[in-house]
């Protein structure tokens, strides 16, 4: 009576997405998988469910190998999953959405459906009845006729769980069910998970929200770059250094650096009261369709200053930067130098001086050479300005001139980051939004990166630095905003970065929420 993945290896082309990962879920148990972005959590789900093929290893249900079966057969055998981004039909009603989970239990087929035979009708009535019961269990009965597209993400995720339950699964796989949920919604979800477990359903959970995970899980597995880093009881695993490193980036490993005099220095240098901010964001809420990912965030960026946005993976940092740049749908007001820009499309905001450097150097074109990439970014400059810009960049990024004819994809991670920054500066930004510039970089490059960002700030540019790596942020930040679950969990000066305990609490969302 167990669901087991044994030595599961999954490859996508030459990339090893999962490397001999084993995991086991017992009926009535809540097992969780945590790990940073790209650690292979979702791939593990896909492999178990049949959405991704195995290179080697086995998936067993009660000892029976099921990894040769197509996905829908595994579902019929009692496996069920939810999706990280709920896959909904916005037009469908809540009732119909939940009912969909019960369709596979139909014994009667097409003819019964077309002719509305008594058997077909009684089966349909049975499914409808069960749907109503599930709606009541989830306390969603009042929403039965609401359209899915009109609901907040928390409700949609609950509905997704209800849909999974309709199939009477023996094992249920929940992919980041708590992302974007309010605390009340998280509590409702926890209750639902606990009830499922008490009814003997095995629950496998992938989740970024660590507090949520440790509250509900019996067992925890840490994945890191496709490998199992460790497993055990949540309380025990969270104390292990390898977990802290994987989950919080290099923050813990470099805790001493965070407490270095430099951080204190920066904090002291930063004026207590910020001068008139260059950019003001008020109550910014980012959303993907009906799914809100960060809520009512206020953010002021001074001219020539660095605001660090910190938080664990999935906290909503990138979405907030996306909202400011106009690439992600948002509500709330954004003012740049007294001008409202929140109504403008992304390219107009860019012309106004908002420049976004996405994570993993997403603004560079990998197949094009360094020179071509820069030309693209500099296409709007007049001849004179172009010469000046080139000289400036050459001085700032000597390494790029050496490699000007290499394709961008052949550069090292550090060089790519320099190119990304050079391209951003070519647009003459007033506000620079940097999303995890240290991601995937060797610590040796941090010094160069720090010097470059300082030079940028020195030129009077306001910088918003979204980082998972608190130690790096500590070197530069004038102000620190910590985001957990899409909300500001702490707003403070850079001195916090020396206080490891408090920082960890804020990361995990344990600090009291900022008063609205």
């Amino acid at each position: 009576m167990t669901l087991m993945a044994e030595g599961v290896t999954v490859r996508f082309g030459g990339i090893l997405a999962l490397d001999a990962v084993s995991i086991e879920v017992q009926p009535g148990q809540v097992a969780s998988v945590v790990g940073s972005n790209g650690s292979g959590k979702s791939t593990l789900f896909n492999a178990i469910m049949g959405f991704a093929g195995l290179a080697s290893g086995a998936i067993r249900l009660d000892g029976r190998a099921i990894h040769e079966l197509p996905a829908h057969r595994r579902v019929q055998l009692g496996l069920c999953r939810t999706f990280q981004t709920p896959r909904i039909d916005p037009e469908s009603t809540v009732f119909d959405a939940i009912r969909s989970g019960g369709i596979m239990s139909l014994k009667s087929g097409l003819f019964a459906a077309c002719l509305a035979t008594p058997r077909g009708r009684s089966e349909a009535a049975g499914i409808d009845h069960r749907t109503e019961k599930v709606l009541e269990e989830l306390r969603l009965a009042h929403l039965a006729l609401a359209r899915m597209g009109e609901l907040p993400v928390g409700t949609i995720r609950l509905i997704d769980v209800g849909r999974a339950v309709m199939g009477k699964p023996r094992f249920i796989l929940l992919d980041e069910p708590a992302a974007g949920l309010s605390h009340a919604e998280q509590d409702a979800l926890k209750a639902q998970i606990r009830r499922l477990a008490s009814e003997g359903v095995g629950v496998l959970l992938v989740e970024h929200n660590f507090r949520f995970v440790s509250d509900v899980s019996d067992h925890l597995t840490v994945l890191d770059r496709g490998r199992v880093l460790g497993s055990g009881r949540p309380g025990e695993v969270s104390k292990r250094p390898e977990f802290v490193r994987s989950y919080l980036g290099s923050f813990a490993g470099k805790a001493s650096a965070a407490a270095s005099p430099r951080a204190a220095d920066t904090a002291a240098k930063a004026p207590a009261v910020m001068p008139m901010p260059l950019m003001e964001c008020r109550k910014v809420t980012a959303r993907y369709g009906g799914i809100r990912v960060c809520f009512d965030i206020d953010l002021d960026v001074p001219q020539a200053g660095v605001v660090a946005l910190l938080g664990a993976n999935g906290a909503g940092k990138s979405s907030l930067l996306g909202a400011i740049s106009g690439l992600v749908q948002s509500t709330g007001s954004i003012t740049l130098d007294g001008q409202r820009i929140d109504g403008l499309p992304a390219h107009r905001r860019s012309e106004c001086g908002i420049c976004f450097v996405p994570e993993i150097r997403g603004n560079i074109f990998p197949a094009m050479s360094v020179a071509e990439n820069l030309e693209l970014a500099q296409r709007r400059l007049c001849a004179q300005a172009l010469d000046r810009m080139k000289a400036e960049l050459e001085q700032m990024f000597p390494r790029l001139s050496e490699r000007r004819f290499s394709p961008a994809c052949m550069l090292s991670g550090g060089e790519q980051q320099m190119l990304a920054l050079a391209m951003a500066l070519s647009l003459k930004p007033r506000i620079l939004l940097l999303d995890e510039p240290t991601q995937g970089l060797a610590p040796a490059v941090y010094d160069t990166l720090e010097a470059v960002v300082r030079a940028i700030v020195g030129n009077g540019i306001g910088v918003v630095l979204a980082e998972q790596n608190a130690a790096f942020a500590a070197r530069l930040a004038n102000q620190v905003i910590i985001i957990a679950d899409g909300r500001v969990s702490l707003r403070t000066g850079a001195e916090i970065l020396g206080d490891r305990e408090r920082l960890l609490r804020a990361y995990l969302g344990a600090e009291p929420q900022e008063a609205a």
């Binding site: 197509p70 579902v75 039909d89 119909d96 969909s100 139909l106 009667s108 097409l110 459906a113 349909a124």
Partner: protein, 317 residues
Amino acid sequence: MRRRPALLPAATVVALAVLAAPLITGNLFWLDTSALMAVYALLALSVGVSFGLCGILSVAQASFAALGAYTTAILSTRYSLHPLVGLAAAIVLPAVFGYPFARLIAGMSHLALAVATLLFGHMLDIALREGGDFTGGYIGLSGLPPVPGPDSATWLHVASWGMVALVAALLGSLYASPYGAGMRSVRNDPMRATADGIDIGHMRGVALSVAAGIAGLGGWLYAHHVSYLGPESLGPAVSISVLLMAMVGGVSTVLGPIVGAVALTLLSTLLPGAEAAGMFYGGTLLLVLLAAPKGLTSLPALAGAQRGADAGKENGR
């Protein structure tokens, strides 16, 4: 609870057909138009099942109809079998063909699948032309017996719309059933449907099979009404126009394709200007698709939503 009204579309069809009967009785032109309208309605319903319900963008509906039409034509002219035998064969043969055909092509993307069905149409077209005496070649088959029943033009009206109403009734039940909901979820999101434990390949096969059977019925009606059948009669051009009819009426409802078939047939019959009629036709189509992207049958709902929004605004004030 919250059942879709399963028999409402069929009842609407019956009511309209009865209302129209006294207006067109005795007028052979309109009786002929009425029967052709019913043929188009059946083909558009076939689009509704394959594309509207299950998401298979097939541009071969007329070819399925041709398959049915030629089956009954060959059976009744070459083997002198009763048209009712032909009726069964005209439904079953395309339906039996539709299932494996769908399993073969349903994994393709929308566009590739549309092209594949179009190619099937062309292959069938060539086969019919090159079929020699068996299919009548370029000349086609003529002298088909009329639709069985009393020898009156009004009977044709009754029989054709009776068929449409019957299909609408069956589809109404299907659309309202959980089985139909399963097909709809294959259309909306195949991955989601798989995660719900639905065998999407099988569902698509069933949907196209049903669609092909309905098209075959349309083909049968066409063959015995017109009593002549050539390779041009139910060619790829017809496939495209019935696809348009279904889209204009509202492809995801039962009534939509029927409304579209009636509206567009009326439009092309009533539009002035002989040579320029195509221009008016195209323009009207474009307007309808712009004003009601989900089809004419979505207009009441759209108006309702607008009223709701206005009321909301007033409350806001």
